[in-house]
Symmetry: C2
Subunit: 420 residues, 2 copies
Amino acid sequence: MNAHAPPNAPRYRTLDMPGILAFLSGLPDLAARLGGTRAQWTIREVSDGNLNNVFVVDGPRGGVCVKQSLPHVRVDPSWKMPLDRTFFEASYLRDIHPLVPGLTTRCLHFDPDLFVLVVESLAGHAVYRTALMSGVDWPRVVPDIATFVARATFGTSVLSEPFERVFDRHAVYARNQTLQRITLDLVLDDPYHDHPRNHWDDVRLDDVVGRIRTSPAVRRAVDALRLRFLTCPQALLHGDLHTGSIMATATDTRVIDGEFAIYGPIGFDCGMFVGNLVLRRFADFSPDAGRRCVAEIARFWDTFVAEFTRLWAAAHPTPSATSGPCAFFVPDADGASPGRTAFVRAVFDDMVGYCAMEIIRRIIGYAHTADFDVIPTHDARTERRRAALSFACGLLDAHGTQGDVEAAFGALVREDVKGF
Amino acid sequence: MNAHAPPNAPRYRTLDMPGILAFLSGLPDLAARLGGTRAQWTIREVSDGNLNNVFVVDGPRGGVCVKQSLPHVRVDPSWKMPLDRTFFEASYLRDIHPLVPGLTTRCLHFDPDLFVLVVESLAGHAVYRTALMSGVDWPRVVPDIATFVARATFGTSVLSEPFERVFDRHAVYARNQTLQRITLDLVLDDPYHDHPRNHWDDVRLDDVVGRIRTSPAVRRAVDALRLRFLTCPQALLHGDLHTGSIMATATDTRVIDGEFAIYGPIGFDCGMFVGNLVLRRFADFSPDAGRRCVAEIARFWDTFVAEFTRLWAAAHPTPSATSGPCAFFVPDADGASPGRTAFVRAVFDDMVGYCAMEIIRRIIGYAHTADFDVIPTHDARTERRRAALSFACGLLDAHGTQGDVEAAFGALVREDVKGF
Ligand SMILES: Nc1ncnc2c1ncn2[C@@H]1O[C@H](COP(=O)(O)OP(=O)(O)O)[C@@H](O)[C@H]1O
Ligand SMILES: Nc1ncnc2c1ncn2[C@@H]1O[C@H](COP(=O)(O)OP(=O)(O)O)[C@@H](O)[C@H]1O
Ligand SMILES: [Mg+2]
Ligand SMILES: [Mg+2]
């Protein structure tokens, strides 16, 4: 049974469904949360991601979600992978849950031998990407994610905490290298040159791919964003904040799957989320989809800025002459702080850049999204992918110059009048 | 004997001189390096810094330098301090010695129980600050330090190494918090507001101190530099690269005392060194001291840029369309790389900013330098300190706008004509 335990995790074994139930019944707190007896518990597998086994267990009283890492990629057993990713997801939840209690799940248990993470069940929620594809309109999600990013990043940055606490966490997340390597390669590097992991199914994308790869301005922007990802640890990031890492209902939004957590530039989380809103927009033929998408991005950005700024002001309520490690850019008596404005502006530039890189890798890189599957014909899918790639290329070409949502994303509206 | 061992280092004891000799005689490699027998070895204490005990031991064949951290600041036993600083200095030497073998000392031994570090002896070298005050002119030192910074930083950055190796080191140096706290407080924070550790001995400095503290532009620059120190880990820094951390002869230059090592912005090491050249200039009444100082800074900067650029080019010799984690800003066919130019320009801006902050803290902060002691009268010392503070204030006031050495530091030459 233990034949496949990695040498550095001798007690590891992959749990099957009865194994999960036995595991839970050995943990009194979790057993009490489920209620009743083990015979009354039901379990079903919900894994749909690439990496891990995930199960939902329900009892008479409540439910839990159990995630276990495998010594390989779930969908490709030949791609070996260390087990520690659930450790980093558990750490992330412990670090950020106090900051965003209603916007993610609590870590209920982590087993360091089995690499099993147990969190609250969201069985009544849908994965947001799936919900979007089925046509829902849940206006809470976008501002909730903006609030999530603002609180989780501000609260783990040196803007709010002594650097010692932040550096303690640096030391932890600097070890999350397997998944950072994936981000670095799949998101920030492979799509920009020939690589066997890249793929797209229509030669009519070749010219725009060529444009992306040969434009000096785009290459410079891409290199700068890749370098910033590695050398700008502003805050603890989720690291994989696409619409598939969100579970929601019409009124409740939860961020899941924080295994990519790393210190990095705040705009990375913003950009990955916004990039997925844009991908969705290009798969949406309804009139006014562009205008609605721009409005959503503006809602995201405005909510993020308002919350981040509010937290920053609240951390240092009185304008004063006091400098100090946590008192960066204290406003003047009139409330103005050009330093804070510049900080937020840099987050905006990063958001735009990483948004573009997310769009590109989701169309020509290794891991595509399902968004375009709703488009009925191959030709129309290709056309929309071309349009999305061109749009992303434009964002990178003018990177760092756009300044506001309308200027950066306004081209999405012009797509409306093309009359698909 | 072990009464003062800290709880987390039960085998620690502070070694006296016989204790050092006994310690060395128990290490065959070091005993062989010294040669002869223990009875033939001589030992003398050379501690002159604030923090540690340092001894030089000579034998018939060679010499070694032995540094032991104390559970408190050497010059202030009431200021308790963890022992781990020699651990970080040993780690730093192990990380950078292969990159700069002739420009620092090799770590010959580190004892993790006693926190004793043994390095090559530089008994024939002088501390560069002391040598400068005695009037030497050693033209090798400035370009050697530029080469040191270029090689030690490039070689520990993601520009030359897979991020995994860099992040492994992040995890180590993120623990060097005691000394980072000192840098953050003493260098980057205290001087900018009232703090009991600040001191200066003449009310005639009060007005320029007031100007530094109330100028919105200066405050913004200071906050940005402080934030960058904590959130811009471009490379492994020495962290305390003033002229007292350099031992030299007319022909040989060695960097010592790397206990402040941390990942941070490369311009921090540059700026601290250049700041100490500028401090020296303000203590120097000889005609043309300003012009010579500007020429030295230009020599430093030009050598740094040439070496850093050479290393970057050598790491990726052929211009190619290949992106990749270590291939940032690969030049076009004509050799141009605006991305690399921008990177180096940002290092320049950081150098200027940290230079100014080093000048300021050395005049009004906790730890002053001896440079001004050579000035014969109190009035003249005050005058030169005022001039140095004004100069530093000007650097911060125009921070990020100067662009080159002449524009940023040219004011040093104008001091020549004031006719001190
Ligand atoms: N807390 C939860 N409650 C209910 N279902 C969940 C929960 N967390 C994840 N899921 C389901 O499991 C799937 C995979 O989870 P995820 O954390 O994304 O795993 P992976 O890291 O392997 O992608 C999700 O897409 C969702 O359908
Ligand atoms: N390798 C060496 N060889 C000879 N003398 C040294 C050596 N390293 C340091 N010293 C002397 O010891 C002094 C203190 O060393 P340093 O490393 O600066 O200690 P601290 O960290 O306590 O400031 C130096 O100023 C120098 O005079
Ligand atoms: Mg996942
Ligand atoms: Mg020292």
